[in-house]
């Protein structure tokens, strides 16, 4: 019963969070200086009447309250509206951008999790040795690097060996599955690597810290006294108990995947959701921004909920 209460409370809290975020998303973009139709009405052959026509078309001539009600009604019907910029459904724009983003960001995040966990474990296990110094310094170094700068350096280093822009070679005629796969793999390498390198340091530090804590526990000492092999101690006793904070970090990272990676997508001309959101900000494309931030909100809230529920499962002390 206590467990059910916990789940209901967390779910209700998540729903309230989403509703508040929806309202804030609506208000926030409208508070920014500049109008949604200013740029769109400045096309070469337009007359001053275009501005008014666009306002009417987008419903911006109505009061903010009326616009909010219309927005909520549309949401209830699962309609995210139509983009001001290209006049296509926001859901279509988001779907296309998301499909482009997910493989690249997932791969980068996976790289970060694996390398970060590995280096974190090594750093903790080899505490006080040059290995720890090298591992932690490298992790901190990459973690503190400006993402776009690292991307540009990789472009300079790998240009000619790996593609520097785009998702695929669009000039390939009728490629076989393997040719297409190899081409996609070549294009995804540098952006994913950039993301992975920037992110892995965070995992290194968290895993190292959690591991150091567990390695100091009495049961580890007991395991050593029993003569277990070092790797067995790490794998079976230390790492498993150190995974609680790592699970939170992984859940948070997964929640932010739908936000894309604006800087990486820009540096590598990757047409993902990060760039779509950035463009929407510049163009004051309210429906697109509302849709993208709603998606992000739901994703973050969902994965936080998953982390909460996972904690509940992983650590029964929470319910006590």
């Amino acid at each position: 019963m206590r467990g059910a209460d916990y789940v209901i409370k967390r779910t209700a809290f998540a729903l309230v969070t989403v509703f508040v975020a929806v309202t804030l998303n609506f208000a926030l973009f409208r508070l920014a200086p500049g109008s949604a139709v200013t740029d769109l009405s400045r096309v070469p052959h337009a007359t001053p009447e275009l501005r008014q026509a666009l306002k009417k078309q987008f419903g911006l001539d109505k009061s903010k309250g009326a616009q909010y009600v219309i927005y909520l009604k549309q949401l209830v019907h699962g309609n995210l509206g139509v983009s001001f910029a290209n006049e296509q459904p926001v859901s279509t724009n988001l779907r296309v951008a998301l499909i482009n983003t997910l493989p690249m960001v997932l791969l980068g995040t996976l790289f970060a999790i694996v390398i970060g966990t590995l280096t974190g474990v090594i750093a903790a296990w080899r505490r006080g040795t040059p290995t720890e110094a090298v591992t932690v310094t490298s992790a901190l170094g990459f973690y503190s690097m400006p993402t776009h700068w690292l991307g540009l350096m990789l472009i300079i280093i790998f240009a000619g060996t790996l593609p520097t822009g785009g998702m695929t070679n669009e000039f390939l005629i009728n490629p076989s599955f393997w040719t297409h796969f190899r081409d996609l793999a070549a294009h995804i390498t540098l952006p994913s690597l950039t993301l992975g390198l920037v992110l892995y340091g965070e995992y290194t530090l968290i895993v190292r810290s959690a591991m150091l804590e567990t390695l100091g526990e009495d049961y580890i000492l007991t395991a050593r006294a029993k003569g277990l092999k070092p790797w067995t101690i790490v794998r079976r006793h230390a790492l498993r108990n150190a995974m609680l904070p790592v699970a939170t970090l992984v859940a948070l990272s997964l929640g932010y995947i739908v936000a894309g990676a604006i800087l990486i997508e820009t540096v590598f001309s990757w047409p993902g959701i990060g760039r779509a959101v950035y463009d929407a900000v510049l163009q004051r494309d309210y429906p697109m921004l509302q849709g993208a931030f709603l998606l992000l909100t739901i994703s973050v809230v969902f994965f936080n909920l998953v982390a909460d529920l996972l904690y509940f499962k992983l650590d029964p002390r929470i319910t006590e």
Binding site: D39, A159, S269
Partner: protein
Amino acid sequence: MQARRLAIVGVVLAVCVFAAAASGSERKSGGTFRLGTSSRIDSLNPFVAFNQDAYSTFEYIYPELIQYDKANRNFAPDFATSWKASNGGKTWTFKTRGGAVWSDGQPLTSADAAWTINTALKYKGGATANSAGLIAHITRADAPTPTTLVVHYAAALGNVLGQFQQFPILPKHIWSQHTGHKGNDLKSFPNNAPVVGAGPFNLIKFTKDQIALFQRNDKFYGPKPNVDAFGLQMFSNDDALVAALKHHDIDAIEDVPATAIKTLRGSGFTVKQVPGLDHTDFIVNSNPKKTKHRELLDPRVKTAMDYAIDRAQIVRVVFLGAAHPGDSIISPSSGAWYNPAVKPTPFNLAKANGILDGLGYKKGSDGIRVANGSRMSYDVITPTDVHSIPRTFQIIQAAFRKIGIELKQKSLDSSAAFDAITAPNGKYTDFDLSMWDWVGLVDPDFMLSVVTCEQYGGWSDSGFCDKTYDAMYSKQQLTPNQAKRRAIVWQMQKYLQQRKPYLWLANLDNVSAYSSNWTGIVTSPQGPFNSISKVSLTSIQQK
């Protein structure tokens, strides 16, 4: 979806093979010309599109009545082979090509042109408002025969051909199905690839922010392209774009960043540098009703500021030599419309100080002058998306300091910057100074219009409103004789130079770069992919 994509690619391949086989030996034909750009195509719908590359796309996939010739100076036939004015210039008759077809095999006739014009007219207050300027003063268009188009005007105009040069003709049998909801369906129609067109190329594939792939249209009514296809690959990072050219992942760049010109020349690439249509400006609020710092309305103050701008340094430092000192609202690349008598104001701080001293604006203890009881300290509104502005501002700021004027940069994104300029509510009474740029057209009408009173709340970013100027603007618009019109256009440039709503900074060059495997390059002020003519990409061929 995958099957559909493969089918399209298969068709492309088949057509390419067929085209190559059918072409014979008279042309060094074939190949795919891969053009890289840092710009992009925002929409394939002419009633929605905003970016220049979208307009260039329409130039190459749709017929237009008129285009410019190879030199980008004179009008040349496109879908119209000849034209004449009658009824005192109020009626224009165009003879159009016979036997032309759309890419889906439907006949292309003057009825398509008449329908496009009449539809744009019908919804000009709403769905088609973004092209309303191109059909100004038109009352009706008729197609009495499949090869005759008659356009009726309320008054005799001077820029009829210039307007039609930018007006794509749409296939009536496609677009007439999308006029519902008072024409608003015209805007929601995505016009996805493969697009039904009739230009020298068919747009067969378009992936937003990635690629636009154009295949040669062998049914085109005009000179056929030499290449089988060309693709526009879009990059969001200049360094990656240049790296792609250097490693031959692409064949050309349509707008080379100034920092890469020397490197590309040194690496054996063909670099074409021609005067462009983009020019940067320093804007002085010229609204007579402005409330604060009214000394800025005095042409003598503006002249002093003009003398304090070191254009040579801006060209050298900001544009690394890929520009020329600016002087007029019409850039030299507009050809005969540019008034050569309007010269850039020389850099002369002594003269600037002399003018301000003469006006009695004495310097305070901090070195800043005081005019009408207020320090001559001004905010300069600058948009974040014009990348040359920050460095240009620093140069101007340092020089202005030496004449006792303090400038403070107020950087905003373009939407917020324009709203700050027009504040409050389109009255232009709040702002003092700004910096921006203009990308003009070959015909001067558009650039001359941006300082008319009618453009308040529209294109105006200077608050300039002058009845004498407006009268000259209307006069040039209603003067069909081009020599007489040119005289008025020259007079208007002189008039603006004296009143100085803009202090022109630099006329930018258009710089494009090509791999040495390609020849037949035709330059234009907008680069190889442009909305000026269909010549550039139909002429290019492999060596």
